[in-house]
Symmetry: C3
Subunit: 348 residues, 3 copies
C-alpha cells in the first residue's frame, strides 16, 4: 500500500523506485497518499506528545501526585532511529527549526550532530559538494539542510551517497516542506480535513517559502479555495497559475475563511521600496479582532513564527482563543519525527 | 514529609501547593528543609561521583588493573530524567555553568538542548516571552536560564506553561541559587554543619549574585556569624540588614573564620572609579598565606571561579591544602543533578 | 601481551607503567606494537562501518526491502564508553575533526560535550591549566584537545588529574597523531602492509603536522622509502634526519610510488613570500593525471582534506579511481573509536 504508479516515480527524485519517501525536498509533486501518511503518523506522535494546553491541564490537576512512575509518559516514543546519525547542516541560522529537528531526531533515538557550516570547511574554500561527500564518508544517515540558496537541498540529494537521506529545512525562497506539512497536520487536527475549506494566506507571499509549500500541500489535498492576500508588491506575478485566488483587500480575503495563515513580514522589507512602514502595513493588512470577525466564526489563525506583534498580527489575536500558533510548534516536532522515520525507511 | 504549611507556600512561586520544589529561582525564602534536602541528595550523588583527589588516588593505585568491568563505576547514576528535555537557555555566555548543567542533566538520562539565544529569534525581534512560549510548545520539561537582567528567571517562571520547570543559572546581580547551594554542600561536607560557624565573604559583594545567594543560604541554615569583607565601594549600602557583619579591614574579617569565600573581581571594575588597580587591590584584600593564618587553623578557602591569581587570591592559597575550590566544582555537578531531579518531581 | 620493557616506558608520557596507551599525544616514540594494535582495532570497526562505496552498493540493491529490522546494522558498535564523558576542547576551530571525534565517542556510547574555548573562561583571563583543572573536577574522562600552539596537549596531559586521558587532535605544527594513524589504517587496507612500500608526501611539509605524524608512523612501521616532495621554501631544513628522501622535482618524487599523500596548501601561504601564486604552484606541484601516471599503476592517492581543487590536486585525480580520500574520512572515525577505547582502557 501507499505505492505509486512507476511512471510517476522516476520523475520524482524524492521517491524510491518503490514509491516510498527517500528524501523530502519539496511538497510540489509529492503524492497525496504520502502527504496524508505523514500527517497521519505525525498525528499519532502528537497524541503521545499532547498539545500544550491539554498537557498543561493534566499537569495542573495531577501536580500534587506527580512522581517518578509517571515520567514514562515523557519517554522517547520508540527508538526507531537508534544508532542512526542525523546531521543538522544549517548554512543559514535558524535556532527554532534546528531545535525542532534536534528534538524530533533525539525522541526517535538518533544521534544528532549540529554543524555550524559558516564556521567550517566552506570558510577554507571547500565546495558544498566536497563538504557533503566528507560528511557522507563519516556515515551520516540523514542530512537536514537549511540553505539561503534555492535548490541547495536538491543539489545535495543528487550528489550524496545512495544510502543517505536529505530533508529540506528551507532553501531560499523555494520550499520549506516540513513547515507546509506541519501546517496541514494542524489544519486537519482542527478542521477534520480539507473538503470544503477556504484558506487565506496573508502577507508577504513573494518572499515566502512557507506560502509556496502551503499552496502546494493545500492544492494536493484538495482544499477548494485558496486565497493569497496582500499588496501587489508582495504577491508574485502570475501566482494565479498555482490555483489560488488573488485578493488585495484584506476583508475580501478573510471573508468566510476557515483557516487564516498569516505570514511573517521580514524586517528588511519594511522600510524599503516594497512597503511604506510597518505601521502602515499593520493598518492595511494586520490581523485585528475586527478583521478576524469577518472570517468564519470558528476560523483558526496560524503563523509560522516568530510573530511580529503589531506588524502582521495584533497581540489580542495572536494570544486569543482562535490562535493555534503554539500548537503548530508542537505539530512541528511530531511532523519532523514522522518525516525522519519515513525517509529512513523505519516508518511507512 | 518535607511539606510546608500552606500559608507560606502560596507566597512563594518556587513551590507547588504541596510545598515541593517546582522552580529554583532564588534561595531567598526557600524553606530550610528544602535546602537541606537538596544538600543531602547532592551529597549522595557526590559519593557516587567521588571528589577529584579521592578518585585520582584510586585511579593512580588501580591503574594497571583497570579494565572494562570497572567502567560501571562511571555509569549514569540513574536514568531518573530519561525522556525529559532540558533546555539550556543562556542569554549570557557561561561555558562553565552551562557545561555543569549539561553534565548533570545527561548523567540523569535527560536529553539536553543548548540554545545560543543571542543568535536566535530574539535577534529577529521576538520577545523573550514569545521565545519561551515557543520552546514550551516543543515540550521542553526544564528550562535552565542564564540572563544578564535581574528577574529574568522569575518572569519566565510566571509565564511559562504549567508543566514546565525553571532553574535560575544566574540573573543579573540578583541570584545564582545553584552556586549558593553547591557552596553550602561543600561547607557541610568539610564542616559537618553550620552550627557555630563563622563565614567570611570577601571582595566585590556589590556586584555579586553569588554573595547574595550565599548569604541567604547561610542565614536560613543558621550560620551564627556571616561577615562581608571589602572596601566601602564594593559593599552595598545597608547590607547589614541581611544579617551580616561588615568588615572593611581584611584581618578583622578573617580572624577566626571557619570558612572563607573569596569573590571574583571582574576585570572591568579594576581600573575604574571603584578601585585604583588590581595590584593595590591584592595588597589590601588579596588572600595570602599570611592573612589565611589569622583564620581558624582548619579554615577552608572557597571561590566560585574562575579565579584571578594575584588579584583576589595568591596562587599558594588557591593551590594550597586549605583550598576546596575544585571540590566546589564537583559539588556543582552533584547539586545541579539534585535540583533537576527535584524540580522535575522525580526526587523529593 | 602488547607490553613494553619498563625502561622504555617511563620515558614516554603517553604510556602507563604497564606499557598501555594512557594518552595519545604524538606518534613519535609510540611503540610499533601499539600503532599496529590501533590499526587492527580500527580496521575491525571499519568492517562494521563499511566503506562508503561498499555500503552504498548494499543500500542500492536492498533499498526496497529495507525495514526497521535491518537498522541494527547501524547500531552502536558496542557501548564500551557508556557513562564516560568525552570533552572536545577545541581552542582552534575544526568542524571536521571535531565531528569525527564526536561521532566516534557517541558510537561507543560516551556522552560528548563540545566546548568552544574561545568563548569560555579563557576570555575571562583564566589560564589554560585552571580551565583544565576545572573541567577535570566535573569528572571528564577524556579530553580531545585541538590547539594552535605546539605542545598544548602535552602540557595538559602533564597537569591533568591522573584519571584523565588526553587525545591530541592537532597542536600547532607539531603533531596530528589520529590523522597519521588513519592514514596508516588506509594504507594497510589498500596495500596489505608497509614492507617494500614507497610513499611520497607532496607539498607544504614545512607547515604540516600531518606530514610529521605520517613520517613518524611510516618510519616506525618500516616503510623502506619515504619521500618528501616540494619546493625548497616548503620543506624544513634538515628533514633528511627524519629518515626521508628529499625531492624537489615532482616527477622524481612520484616515480614508482605506491602511495601518494598530497598535503593541503593553506591559502595564507599562496600570495606571500613562500610561493608566487596558486596557479604557478599547481603548474609545478599539482597532482594531475599525467603526473600520477609516473607512479606505480596501482598507486593510491591520499589527502587529509579539505582539498583545494586546482591548487594541489586536479579534480580528475581527486575524483578518480585511485583516490581513497573519502575512505580516509571513514577510517578517521574508526581510528578515533579505537584510540578513545584504548586510552580509556576498555580496549587493549
Amino acid at each position: 500500500m501507499n505505492r505509486i504508479a512507476p511512471g510517476f516515480i522516476r520523475a520524482n527524485p524524492q521517491l524510491t523506485r518503490a514509491g516510498e519517501l527517500k528524501h523530502l525536498l519539496t511538497i510540489e509533486g509529492l503524492p497525496r497518499v504520502l502527504i496524508e501518511r505523514i500527517i497521519e503518523i505525525a498525528t499519532q506522535f502528537a497524541v503521545q506528545l499532547p498539545l500544550g494546553e491539554a498537557r498543561s491541564g493534566e499537569a495542573r490537576s495531577g501536580e500534587a501526585s506527580q512522581g517518578p512512575e509517571q515520567s514514562s509518559a515523557y519517554a522517547p516514543i520508540a527508538p526507531l532511529l537508534q544508532g542512526k546519525s542525523v546531521f543538522n547542516l544549517f548554512f543559514e541560522n535558524s535556532t527554532r527549526t534546528r531545535t525542532t529537528f534536534e528534538l524530533a531526531a533525539r525522541r526517535l533515538g538518533a544521534g544528532v550532530t549540529n554543524l555550524d557550516i559558516q564556521a567550517s570547511s566552506t570558510s577554507k574554500g571547500e565546495s558544498l559538494l566536497d563538504t557533503i561527500r566528507n560528511l557522507s564518508a563519516m556515515h551520516a544517515d540523514i542530512f537536514v539542510v537549511r540553505h539561503a540558496q534555492s535548490g541547495a537541498a536538491h543539489l545535495i540529494a543528487q550528489h550524496c551517497a545512495p544510502h543517505l537521506h536529505v530533508v529540506n529545512a528551507g532553501d531560499g525562497r523555494h520550499a520549506h516542506p516540513t513547515q507546509g506539512l506541519l501546517d496541514m497536520a494542524t489544519i486537519r487536527h482542527y478542521k477534520g480535513g480539507f473538503r470544503g475549506l477556504t484558506v487565506a494566506i496573508v502577507g508577504d507571499v513573494l518572499h515566502s517559502r512557507v506560502a509556496r509549500s502551503d499552496i502546494h500541500a493545500l492544492t494536493t489535498l484538495g482544499a477548494p479555495e485558496i486565497r493569497v492576500v496582500g499588496p501587489r508588491t508582495l504577491l508574485p506575478d502570475g501566482i494565479e497559475q498555482m490555483g489560488v485566488r488573488v485578493c488585495h483587500a484584506i476583508d475580501e480575503g478573510l471573508r468566510g475563511a476557515d483557516v487564516i495563515i498569516m505570514l511573517r513580514l521580514q524586517n528588511e522589507r519594511m522600510n524599503g521600496t516594497l512597503l511604506p512602514s510597518s505601521r502602515e502595513y499593520f493598518a492595511r493588512y494586520g490581523l485585528t479582532p475586527e478583521r478576524l470577525a469577518v472570517a468564519a466564526p470558528d476560523a483558526i489563525v496560524m503563523h509560522p513564527g516568530p510573530i511580529n506583534r503589531g506588524v502582521e498580527i495584533a497581540s489580542e489575536v495572536a494570544d486569543g482563543p482562535q490562535s493555534v500558533i503554539l500548537h503548530q510548534v508542537t505539530f512541528g516536532v511530531a511532523v519532523r519525527m514522522a518525516v525522519l522515520g519515513m525517509v529512513a525507511g523505519v516508518l511507512r
